[in-house]
Symmetry: C2
Subunit: 275 residues, 2 copies
Amino acid sequence: MTLQTTSYSDLVNVSPELVRTAIRSGSYTGHTAGLAAGKLQCNLAILPECYALDFLRFCQRNPKPCPVVAVSDSGDANLPTLGPDIDIRTDVSKYRVFKDGAFAEEVDDIQALWADDLVTVALGCSFTFENALLRNDIPVRHIETGLNVPMFRSNIDLEPAGPFAGKMVVTMRPIPKEQVEQAREISARYPHAHGAPIAIGDPAQIGIADLSQPDWGDAVEIKAGEVPVYWACGVTPQNVLLDAKLPLCMTHSPGHMLISDVAENAETTILPPKK
Amino acid sequence: MTLQTTSYSDLVNVSPELVRTAIRSGSYTGHTAGLAAGKLQCNLAILPECYALDFLRFCQRNPKPCPVVAVSDSGDANLPTLGPDIDIRTDVSKYRVFKDGAFAEEVDDIQALWADDLVTVALGCSFTFENALLRNDIPVRHIETGLNVPMFRSNIDLEPAGPFAGKMVVTMRPIPKEQVEQAREISARYPHAHGAPIAIGDPAQIGIADLSQPDWGDAVEIKAGEVPVYWACGVTPQNVLLDAKLPLCMTHSPGHMLISDVAENAETTILPPKK
């Protein structure tokens, strides 16, 4: 059998359903930035039910890094409030599997790993507010330059819940000084995608020693007249899950998000039920 | 011992902490509308841990009637993200206790009923957006006339989770036609307090036969030039809890809300941790 492959450019401007179909069939395994414009994309955490209550408490207490946009029934691979046809075992282009707090493997689907006690928690992602910044002519340096957003472990304590605790991870985007307030206002409209910045300006105020040495992602240039602006980052819950050393948990791979049918600017992330 | 009693007027314009102190001591057992101006007040659902994951899934799927603003640890009577001194067993002026889906009793504190497996879920309440409407000179009829807000069982299906399911309860407020859009915009700013209206105008569109016959609360006059506007109501989760026939659950009594230290217009409902 010859596997049909789909390129990124084939998927630009197609519906979320068609992007998911290409991913589900295995014909597309790339990243999802810029696909399904206007639709909410999601970070994923898949974990055993016995940890799900504490993880939801953790997310509720840390809504800026961990904005919950959907929670599955236990053992149910569907997420009907995000899209009527979503199957979480196949509809993400790359997954990471962790066992006892250590990286185990990266896979294209998790059908073989699925179990009746697994719960999927989908969390909003920064693509949503980045798209809104770009629509409002606010530059986003790492996108302009084709890099990954720089991410830093801050000194901001998270509110713990059960085995879940740690420090907040933040992203940094240099914003022209005269557009910082506008960037703040725009991102605040997306509470399901990290909301307003966590901090603005001096990195030392949140325990970052050197902006040229990100903990994850790529360093980006801060030009004259630009101010570093910090947002809560979806890597936070991934780190916290890892540190909790669950026997099994799965996440998307960075940049390989779940694409939903929910509009980025919808009031809630819940699709109306199909009649 | 003589029990010192505190009147409503003694508590107007005092801090949330002092209102809670009066309630905790048993000296104030009245309603909380208009107290602790500018602070978030909360609906309460207290239920056994074994139902908490499904109840949180239910709330996540129905964010307009069930906006979660805090979740306690199991067996922990404190809610530190809403206020450093809150004890949920004593800090609400009246509670309702339900056993096996039937009303059992109304009490002033629940210390005798507390158990190690209980989880408190606090939900936003309509006081928040009503205060915002009043600040913007939009009249709120039931407040003007000293009545309870009229509540109706709609035909809107809730997204089920585990044993939790049913129809949405809505409140109705008549708004002058020319202020309806402004009322929508203002309430949409408070996603933690039911957000934007669910429907505007004809009650038949959401299955309400007669606006003069509310299912709960009092009928209010709709004057010439006014449009009935419907918001999701915090009675929804109470009904759903009742219908689920849990062996034990507890709620606040209507109008007797938990007063928090969180500002009504804060970006999240999570207080920063005390250093």
